[in-house]
Symmetry: C2
Subunit: 251 residues, 2 copies
DNA sequence: GATTACATGATTGTCAACAATTTTCAGAGA
DNA sequence: TCTCTGAAAATTGTTGACAATCATGTAATC
């Protein structure tokens, strides 16, 4: 299933943020491959991850796979059913709502701090990232665009320099793709390419209130792409999910 | 070292918040015992946690201990030195600052939501907790008071009902004792027994702005008990730490 | 006396075999 | 056709042994 990933700025950043000390490089490698697979929406919720299959695929021992899976479980990317196995998580609507609510607060905190702490070089780097993201969209490379879109948020958090808030945001955005897969709307609304750019403008202008409002609105746009209403079932049961596998626009 | 803990409302709550699915009950048991030991400030930063010793102490296999330690590592309660072992974390001053900053934002979010969502029964339960806390202080049971003080924050978060924010706060408050141990001020300022009560009053009165301000101020009081100035060394080197093992007042 | 080289012990990391549990599937019976 | 039973296969959980690495203490050398 998940094999070697393309090296990118996200991987090392994630290692610093979430993965921490590589408790044996092998475990870390397997963990990050699976985590990246989730980020790229390659793993459908509910899929069983069998230890031996993963061990064979990665060329490692089952014990290593087991540790990687245990770590994924802590980040709630998989659920562990005792004596049954681990399955890609299938977040409930309530969980999705909690994630978006928490994301609003965390992102608001980050932009607030960004106005105070970001250097010109940081803003320039983030602007370059937004340009890349736009190019990816224009090139129809949706997967890459989605990834760059996530990277924008993560690198903004990194630039702010608060490791705790950065790791929290990292956990949230990593769990988001599963929420999207489990609760996608049939007709996704139009993509919002300009949000990131406007947020950067507000930060660069030192307008904390506007930056904060824009970011909260941006998260609202993202939440609009899924249906998390209070009556929604936990997620469609298998078949319906496989029909909507083409991904929309990003984070 | 850490053996069975007194059962209390925190344990099950923590299991729901942070611990998640008990990937084999044994692992969860070991993890929580060690986590509780950190919360009670029984584990000095820098102490090595040897796998075999823990396995013997808990009567479990080394693999179980290994998984529990890996989990502790993700919460940054321990640091893992490859081929050397795991050691109780020794948070830097920068890490401490990040934790307090993040805590301000998270707690502010929680009280904001608390004003909207808390039922009368929730408030009554929290008031009872504050009373217990006061009694513990009056009875000079500092350890219990500290624990109840932490419980107040965690149960407030639980009552709000956002599992994501609750788990974030859980991680923060669990890491705090290590920051305190590593960067304790010589003369702790007076304890602030009334903060929790006033926060509850503001929430009960529906005054979100005041509740938020009081909570931020409260976190400021907590931060005042440690010295995290930008010139401070990572922590004193062993001997000095052992001299100041008696604990102050809580969270 | 201080320092380096080396042997010893302790600890972590890896692995494969075994046990326990669950799932699957074939077949009997209603 | 459906359901129940039970054996077989597949999967997870556990344990112990072995290898690799690091820390400790001793002896030799400058």
């Amino acid at each position: 299933m998940g094999e070697a990933e393309q090296a990118g700025s996200t991987q090392e950043g994630a290692a610093r943020r979430a993965g921490k000390a590589p408790s044996t490089e092998e475990t870390q490698r397997v963990f990050e491959s699976l985590r990246n697979a989730v980020l790229d929406q390659r793993l459908p919720p509910g899929l069983q991850l069998k230890e031996q299959a993963l061990a064979d695929a990665f060329g490692v021992n089952r014990a290593v796979v087991r540790q990687a899976l245990a770590r994924l479980e802590i980040y709630r990317l998989v659920t562990h059913a005792p004596n049954r196995g681990v399955f890609v998580a299938h977040p409930s609507a309530a969980e999705g709502r909690d994630l978006f609510t928490a994301r609003r607060y965390i992102e608001a905190a980050i932009v607030e701090l960004a106005v105070e702490r970001l250097k010109d070089a940081d803003i320039a780097r983030l602007r370059a990232l937004v340009r890349q993201e736009r190019q990816a969209y224009e090139a129809q490379d949706v997967r890459k665009a989605l990834r760059l879109s996530v990277d924008f948020h993560l690198q903004l958090a990194d630039a702010v320099g608060n490791t705790v808030l950065a790791s929290f945001l990292d956990e949230i955005v990593t769990r988001m793709p599963l929420v999207v897969l489990a609760h996608r709307r049939e007709s996704p609304p139009a993509c919002m390419l300009d949000d990131h750019e406007q947020i950067l403008d507000a930060i660069a202008a030192g307008d904390a209130g506007r930056a904060r409002a824009l970011m909260i609105e941006h998260v609202g746009h993202l939440e609009g792409r899924v249906s998390l209403d209070r009556g929604t079932q936990q997620g469609d049961s298998g078949i319906a999910r496989l029909l909507g596998l083409e991904e929309g626009c990003g984070s």
